[in-house]
């Protein structure tokens, strides 16, 4: 399958919810190193809101669903992660406006719009030990595979792999954004919680799509 339609987008998000919830405690533990230890809790709350949005889906439109998910995540009182992920999905929604399915160039463009939407919120860039380190390679890999007209499983596999590698790479970095920046060199050796969440999100997309392929 090459085109992402509404039902598969639903399944993709179901995959995300499962993947992130499984890692709740792990994510909080990562955040305890230099942050306030709440990342898993916040992500879990965000996933609860996403689940509500999925359950409530009225209009079967990709852009509407993405927008509702974006707003749902923005609505989580949860510190840094909500505005970042929320704006990512809102920006994806804007770019997906009017589309019935996402494939090839359009799929790439929608995720790239999500990335830009997130980057517009923060000065953090690659190397700053934030979720950006996982998201940038993930979206690059996804876009490349989509433009190469690979099928959905391959596209999301590539993205998941890149996100995982990006999150892994943050272990070597020193935090420069978010609460963890305040511990300086002590942050080296441990993965950034936000980057890890991105990895679990893309792995969730992949699983959601493959399981129902």
């Amino acid at each position: 399958m090459k085109a992402l339609d509404y039902p598969s987008l639903i399944r993709a998000f179901e995959g995300v919810i499962a993947s992130v919830l499984e890692q709740k405690d792990h994510l909080s533990r990562l955040d305890s190193v230099g942050g306030d230890g709440d990342h898993g809790t916040t992500m879990a709350r965000a996933m609860g809101k996403v689940a509500d949005a999925l359950a409530a889906h009225g209009e079967e439109k990709i852009a509407v669903l993405l927008q509702e998910i974006g707003w749902a995540i923005l609505g989580v009182d949860g510190g840094a992660i909500g505005p970042l992920l929320g704006m990512m999905f809102l920006s994806m929604a804007e770019s997906a406006e009017g589309l019935e399915v996402l494939e090839g160039e359009q799929l790439a463009a929608v995720f790239e719009a999500g990335l830009s939407g997130l980057l517009a919120q923060t000065k953090a860039r690659k190397g700053d030990k934030t979720l950006v380190d996982a998201l940038v390679p993930a979206v690059e890999a996804l876009a490349a595979a989509a433009r190469a007209e690979e099928d959905l499983e391959a596209i999301f596999s590539a993205a998941a792999e890149a996100a995982t590698a990006g999150a892994e790479f943050t272990k070597t970095l020193q935090a420069r954004f978010g609460r963890a920046r305040h511990i300086g060199e002590e942050s080296i050796g441990s993965a950034d919680p936000g980057a890890s969440s991105i990895a679990f999100i893309f792995n969730g997309f992949k699983k959601g799509i493959s399981d129902h392929a």
Binding site: D38, D77, Q121, R179, H182
Partner: protein, 333 residues
């Protein structure tokens, strides 16, 4: 360290505490259905409104700063976590007026991100506001790197003087300029002597070794400073004051305010000892302790320690500091 707290269901914690807060301070504040803390008596529409946002668990901050002569609205988040942008946008809509809104944001990633998203949306809707960022923690970055300085209890004097200016009918530009002048002239440093527990998760916030203290502790127990043997009140006052005076480049003849903000378990007794020493040290340098405050304003649960915030005052700022206000955490007649 097991949790020794009197709470109920952690999931309702913030809602419940806000209900109790509104009950305790019903003459000054109301809690709205959309969980904003607003003034009991609304400010005239032709005056600038003050709005801020921030996590809960720091009581009385930030909602305790809502009242006449101070904030119009505070947007509480969850425990230690910023409120999401929709609520913040709602606050900006509620406060919307021609005179404009002074939007005060403490420099923490979550608050800043939430404020940016809400602010961008509000701007699109034509809501007039000026954002002022407070970032006066000298332990998190040097003055040359303001982006990386956290916002600690310095928000309180900023809100006080800007709130007084707004109450006096000053324009949005003037209020913002006053807030920024206060902000630019101040600096904060925190010291922690004992840890605390997170009220919803029960997890330890900041483990402080027996017999030691940490200078440069963040508002939520984030590390960042040097661990050293526990010192006397006088020595601690000296270490902290020196670093702060350096940062704001205070000179003989200057007039300063000093604000000592208890973290939670540290007694007023201790804060008074520190203030006494600060006063003596300032005198030695020919600097005037023009105003002072000692109490619990922005706490970190039951953490032991305090924040010392010092800042430059001029005639206008002193007059604004002295103006009446009536908020749960600060009443002046």
């Amino acid at each position: 360290m097991a949790m020794k707290k009197l709470i109920n269901d952690p999931d309702n914690l913030v809602q419940e505490l806000l209900e109790g807060f509104a009950l305790a301070h019903g003459e000054q504040v109301c809690l709205t259905d959309d969980r904003l803390v607003v003034r009991a008596r609304e400010k005239e529409q032709n005056k600038v409104a003050l709005v801020t946002l921030g996590g809960a668990g720091h009581e009385p901050a930030l909602s305790g700063f809502v009242g006449e002569g101070m904030l119009d609205i505070s947007v509480p988040g969850e425990i230690f976590a910023a409120p999401g942008p929709p609520k913040v946008l709602q606050a900006l809509k509620t406060a919307q007026r021609e005179a404009g809104i002074l939007f005060i944001v403490l420099n923490h990633a979550g608050d800043v991100l939430s404020a940016k998203v809400a602010g961008d949306m509000a701007a699109k809707e034509g809501i007039r506001f000026e954002q002022v960022l407070t970032h006066e923690d000298i332990s998190s970055a040097p003055r040359t790197d303001p982006d990386n300085r956290r916002g600690l209890v310095g928000c309180l004097p900023v809100i006080k003087v800007a709130g007084a200016a707004a109450e006096a009918g000053r324009s949005l530009e003037e209020c913002a300029a006053i807030a920024r002048r206060m902000e630019a002239g101040m600096a904060t440093l925190a010291v922690a002597v004992s840890g605390a527990t997170h009220p919803s998760t029960g997890e330890v916030i900041a483990e402080i070794e027996e017999g030691t203290m940490v200078v440069g502790m963040g508002q939520h127990g984030e590390a960042g400073g040097g661990t050293q043997p526990l010192k006397t009140a006088d020595e601690t006052a000296e270490i902290m004051l020196e670093a702060l005076l350096d940062d704001i480049d205070a000179k003989a003849g200057d007039e300063l305010f000093v604000l000592l903000n208890g973290a939670g378990a540290t007694t007023l007794m201790e804060l008074y000892l520190v203030l006494r020493r600060v006063n003596a040290l300032l005198k030695e340098r020919g600097i005037t302790l023009a105003r002072s405050l000692a109490g619990e304003y922005l706490t970190v649960q039951e953490m032991g320690g305090f924040q010392m915030c010092v800042g430059k005052l001029d005639e206008e700022l002193k007059a604004l500091w002295d103006a009446p206000c009536d908020a749960p955490a600060w009443t002046r007649s």
